[in-house]
């Protein structure tokens, strides 16, 4: 079931980013291109991280850029990028290699996306994901481990 979230339209591998802000911009731009968020969303995520610290880094190696629905979310959606060069967040030792951005329109409709993310972390798939370069492989990896 989780194997159906990612397509050629919302996934990019080996993205080059200058720093965490640039990585968030690039990750969130896939949400925007798919009509999930408006152009404010990325800067709202960055603003939130500046204000609250890197709460989007939920486990070593993975960040999940997101902000509140009223900050530019249009529909529930998700995107995934892997970073060519891992990037650092202030105060966090392990660099981030995988970014899964999402948008939510209320507190519950994105439940399945969160479940998928938790499964990726709990199954230790972050390193595997950072090393693959096809959407098929990605979906097989996520799909297999969650069925």
């Amino acid at each position: 079931m989780y194997g159906t979230y990612f397509t050629e339209d919302n996934v990019q591998f080996n993205v080059e980013a200058l720093d965490w802000r640039d990585a968030i911009e690039k990750s969130v731009s896939l949400l925007r291109e798919n009509g999930f968020v408006n152009r404010e969303y990325a800067s709202e995520v960055i603003k939130n991280v500046e204000e609250y610290g890197p709460y989007i880094v939920i486990s070593p190696g993975i960040a999940i850029p997101h902000t509140r629905p009223e900050n530019g979310a249009l529909r529930v959606g998700v995107s995934l990028i892997t970073l060519k060069y891992p990037i650092y967040f202030e105060g966090i030792e392990a660099p981030v290699k995988v970014m899964i951005s999402f948008s939510a329109t209320d507190h519950h409709k994105h439940l399945e996306i969160i479940k998928m993310i938790v499964n990726i972390v709990e199954n230790g798939l972050i390193d595997n994901i950072s090393n693959i370069d096809s959407v098929n492989d990605l979906n097989n990896l996520i799909g297999e481990d969650n069925r």
Binding site: G53, Y55, H110
Partner: protein, 96 residues
């Protein structure tokens, strides 16, 4: 009923993910509780028995004089860390 609130910046992603791990740990421990998630601005008025949040929020929580137990995590979805920090708190308030 024991009430646990998981808190992050936006109150719908990191805290929601953490809530799932907390629920899994509570199930392992056989402790019944109602777990919810929210953003930090609504956390101050919460009546939860325990608040769980990320390390990066610790200083912000310290500005308020909150009556409930506070737990801060390095890794929001690490069940081992959650269990390690939650068990002593549950014991202290007589829920375990």
């Amino acid at each position: 009923m024991l009430n646990i609130l998981v808190v992050c910046g936006a109150g719908l992603g990191s805290s929601f993910a953490c809530q799932m791990s907390v629920e899994a740990v509570l199930q392992d421990l056989g402790v019944k509780a109602s777990v919810d998630h929210s953003d930090i601005s609504s956390a101050a008025g919460s009546r939860a028995d325990i608040i769980i949040s990320g390390k990066n929020f610790e200083s912000q929580f310290m500005r308020y004089d909150l009556p409930m137990e506070l737990i801060f995590l390095d890794r929001l979805v690490d069940k081992n860390e959650i269990k390690e920090k939650l068990v002593p708190v549950l014991e202290a308030i007589g829920k375990l």
